[in-house]
Chain length 403, copies 2
Amino acid sequence: MLIVQKYGGTSVGSPERIGKVADRIAKTIAKGHQVVVVVSAMGHSTDALVDLAAQVTENPDKREMDALLATGEQVSTALVSMALQKRGIQAKSFTGWQAAVQTEPVHGAARIETIDPQPLSDYLKENGVAVVAGFQGIAKGAVTTLGRGGSDTTAVAIAAALKADLCEIYTDVDGVYTADPRKVTGAYKLEQVSYDEMLELANLGSQVLHPRAVETAKRHQVALVVRSSFTDAEGTVVKDMTTMEGLRVVTGVAQEKEVARLAIVGVPPSSKPLTNMFRTLAKQNVNVDVIVQSILREEEVDVSFTVSEADLDRALELLEALKESLGYREIVHEKGLCKVSIVGAGMISNPGVAAQMFEALEAAGARVKMVSTSEIKVSCVIESSYLEAAINSVHASFLLDQE
Amino acid sequence: MLIVQKYGGTSVGSPERIGKVADRIAKTIAKGHQVVVVVSAMGHSTDALVDLAAQVTENPDKREMDALLATGEQVSTALVSMALQKRGIQAKSFTGWQAAVQTEPVHGAARIETIDPQPLSDYLKENGVAVVAGFQGIAKGAVTTLGRGGSDTTAVAIAAALKADLCEIYTDVDGVYTADPRKVTGAYKLEQVSYDEMLELANLGSQVLHPRAVETAKRHQVALVVRSSFTDAEGTVVKDMTTMEGLRVVTGVAQEKEVARLAIVGVPPSSKPLTNMFRTLAKQNVNVDVIVQSILREEEVDVSFTVSEADLDRALELLEALKESLGYREIVHEKGLCKVSIVGAGMISNPGVAAQMFEALEAAGARVKMVSTSEIKVSCVIESSYLEAAINSVHASFLLDQE
């Protein structure tokens, strides 16, 4: 098999851990597999670089920030290559440009456009282990970076370009859980999960895999495994729904904290100004989540939506500036909320799911303030003080008997 | 004027010092000059990277070592660019490959082969300040480094490629001195020195400029200035002898410590085995310096030469292994020596220089153990215990009245 293995910052956090990573790669090679490695920057080295830049200027140029941050992954690739060579394995480091990872020409959060498989597959033909810097690429001769979770995306994109049989994401947790095991009694590790479920779980704050990596995996049908670099435990397989043996109604319970709710009361019922409002918020990087619109009377509309608490003040300012064009009566807002969601591909054919979720939340004492549903997800906004009781109650209701 | 400014590791050793460097560049720009900047890695960051590699493997691959070390200069280029932008100056970082610094395809101590001036001159046309990573280049798609003093060489080579009017080397000393001012009473800073004198001084342990940088400057007739990044003092101009106003007989007194002497006694007078011996020593990286050969009797030859004390044991081992082929009678060796040299372009036409040097050494109580002379240099090997007295005596004899 051709396997792409991605090791995160914690996994390569010290020379000793880099040795452990090399041992694991050596073991994979010994089983007769071919391996391409993708690595992140060591531990907190990216933070240290960000801090250096902050000491030089309060407003660093994005191109230069990319040039600066890309060095972190380059250090890891060289050290992992050395560690492999020490173990008698032929290895070579590749920066983003050496691996021909072409991105769109933006800095800070560029998307990968193409990866020419030639440089890596040439080296595979020589039986070498290519150690590729994650998180970075090249565009118009400049070094670019992919933003948060970029190394996961690099690994998946390389697996797609090389038509690899498997992409293993090594991290500090041993897989995807039905809920946060530190918070929810009886949370257990999933053997498998579909791309769509993983996407919803990732978007809902379960930080195991970056959504963009999951999207890329889904688009190119790359078989993914999430597993721990510290244990030999089997991880969680992320794959296409069609290849799964049976769909659970609910796969996991996710949570999001520090949510604020805004309600714009008494807007005239024309969609133009509202579209304009959401566009303005997006442009100012205010991420709007659950949106609920209700028509109480013919002549006016109420619109509620959630933002992160950190964005609340900015959102209020922007809405104040738009008061005239929107023509609303007043704005109501509320902090101290959270969002509890259930995700499951089998939900589509099970109409009673939302009702069961409301019951479970009610049993925990929580009042549902907002609801939003998709084909494989139900999200409820409740008060933060009920969060822990709520996720435990929801998990017990949907998942404990499924293990 | 188009000026290339090179800042060493101490000059960019902290965010605060990087700010000072940016201030100095801004001042040069304000005078109406165009500037290309070449920077080294920050302070001891290269040592930190070497140390990381040592923790991973005792025998790091040279290609990977280059990939690792090159990140140090990349960090500096990004930070200096940011600091310039903060001061309203358009700036952009360039790695070795982005600046098209092509080297020979070896690792650890590659020579620059060509620099395509296009990328840098294109950016100069946009009135931007290019901030280039010193010490690194590219060969066959791999990152290479130039070895010790590499950033000086990068700066001079870029100045040559761009046909710059001046190359300023900023360092932590304010110029080239007649002798080490911490050791020699009355040592003073030189206003100017010729390439050849600088080459001899550099080779003799005066660490201000790397010999390879001086060689490159001489070959391309690049006007060099060595000056301090911490003061506004005028530095020392390094230029062609033909453009100097008057040649001093002696320009400087240099020293080299920890020298060992080897004498191979009673070698049959055929040059073949001796050539072979020096080739073997060179291959094993034993740097042979002063060589003295004397014919005492028709049928045999005595050969003495110096090596650094650190290389003595290895040299003895190698010579022992060659005993049969060389056919010598015995080897004598001596440690605890040093070398004192005088360098001066005016020496050629002054026959009494060597004699005056012997007198000065004798006055300091030192016995001359070996002598070697070139057209612009006289070197004497003496016992280390006389070093300080010797350089002071020689300096007083040749230089004090010239200031």
